[in-house]
Subunit: 301 residues, 2 copies
């Protein structure tokens, strides 16, 4: 197995290709799963839960310890973790600092790291955000496509993978994303075409670009069209399981050979049903393994 | 002059209304201007510039000191400051902590504070981002509209003003925002209609909602249509001056009586031409005053 060079937070990384790196990592672990780290203090294991109304510093420390524990538990079975920046930023600078350490822990465990921060700015500001993701050590980010190439290319130019929001899994995304254009496409399809065009400049030896696409598993009628429009984009796929996406929906997200998709689950893995007396990390490990087995069987068919 | 109660970072603020607060502040200072704080180390006054290649902590400290200096210089002439989160986040947790102190300094100087962080997430994650803005002390934020109501309403529910990205000032925004729908509207107009509908729930005594709109001054042919579609939205208007927006373009952003728009300028105010021997803050104060006078004369016509 050839693996691409890892990016460094402080040095240029000319040989790092986010698409190739992720494809290699999926092949290495034998599973296209991504565990979503969306930690909230209200749902922590009792042994980690801070007192109600604690200071931000205490809360940030608690979600950091939980996140590091989840990373240890899932690193053998998941290809990647998706770190929800909002969960950390709500605790201000303490949370932001904790987020950086969680990214480091995930890298240290060999996981591909998606920083799910959904930034959407242009030009120099987009460059700053790409630098912040590089600084933290993330391999991939999530970005808005609404501002066009000015909001996406700075990430690619900085050597950072970026999943553009093409079709989100939430119900109210339809209000804009499902609108029909005069040329017959939906808005989401137009975004897909834009992402495909921009991503063509950075396709690696794996056949995948450093510009990927967020495509919700709940949008079953649209996945095939989006997959056809984006043959070189890795799909980051939320919405499986808890949100209603099925195995068939997920299967359509992969390219031939079960490649090109990263299926994410958050709550079903990081907050599993607890058996009395069993360590919380063991329950999470089991849930991550079940999730990987499920997705493996879907992708292989 | 009745002023609304200021929000607190740690307590509920039932009497704070971001639209009324901003409208009052504009009336109080007699100018609808917003100074964009986009600090980069390469452009700091020589007395503040850190050594090339310095650590993130040192760079963050330098842009913080500059930002606080700008706030002191512009607080008599600007209604608001718009703090570009990307400039701070590129320096990691040190930058994020500095950003919080800059928000505090701006509040302390009596300015309305727009945290320009362009987040775009849904549900609980959007709630987290709203909490992070509240935690920092911002009165207003900027948010993506691409995810629909799930991405915007949590901000309003948290008592935070939010400018939704409707029509951005950058050229590549046209790739999506200018597309024509089957019903004749552009994508940007469809977003405007969505923002108008969602914002109707939170219109204050000023006649303005806590859901505003980012509308670039460079999009002159579209401003009148967007203003008509968004009668209760404050427009946050980038692109005046350096980016090519003219006085006529800006005038169309206001409602009758010169209300409902906040015109932003960044580089032309915070990096003015320096006269030898003159303190850098004096030059910035002059630039902020010229900018306020220009916008005052435009809005009054």
């Amino acid at each position: 197995m050839t693996t691409t060079q890892e990016p460094s937070a402080t040095q240029p990384m000319p040989d790092f290709h986010a698409g190739d790196f992720l494809t290699d990592r999926v092949a290495q672990v034998g599973s296209a799963t991504c565990v979503g780290l969306d930690p909230v203090v209200e749902r922590l294991p009792p042994s980690l839960a801070p007192a109600a109304g604690c200071e931000a510093r205490v809360a940030a420390d608690a979600i950091e310890r939980f996140s590091v524990g989840v990373i240890e538990a899932v690193s053998a079975d998941a290809a990647a973790v998706k770190i929800q920046a909002a969960c950390f930023e709500r605790f201000g600078a303490d949370g932001y600092a904790a987020m950086g350490r969680v990214v480091s822990a995930a890298r240290g465990a060999g996981l591909a790291v998606v920083l799910d921060f959904k930034r959407g700015d242009i030009g120099i500001s987009a460059e700053h955000y790409a630098a912040s993701a590089r600084f933290a050590g993330a391999h991939w980010t999530t970005v808005s496509a609404y501002l066009g190439s000015d909001g996406m290319l700075p990430f690619l130019d900085a050597g950072c993978g970026a999943f553009a929001l093409v079709r989100t899994s939430n119900p109210s995304g339809d209000a804009l994303q499902s609108l029909r254009l005069a040329d017959g496409r939906t808005v989401a399809e137009a975004v897909a075409d834009l992402v495909s065009r921009l991503g063509a400049r950075s396709i690696g030896r794996s056949g995948f670009s450093t510009l990927g696409a967020v495509v919700g598993a709940t949008k079953r009628d649209e996945i095939a069209s989006l997959r056809a429009r984006l043959p070189h984009a890795v799909f980051l796929v939320p919405g499986y399981g808890a949100q209603g996406g099925t195995a068939d929906d997920v299967r359509a997200c992969f390219t031939s050979g079960g490649r090109g998709a990263l299926i994410t689950a958050s709550r079903s893995v990081i907050y599993p049903a607890q058996e009395a007396g069993r360590p919380w990390q063991a329950s999470i490990r089991d849930a991550a393994r079940r999730f990987a087995d499920e997705i493996r069987s879907i992708a292989a068919r």
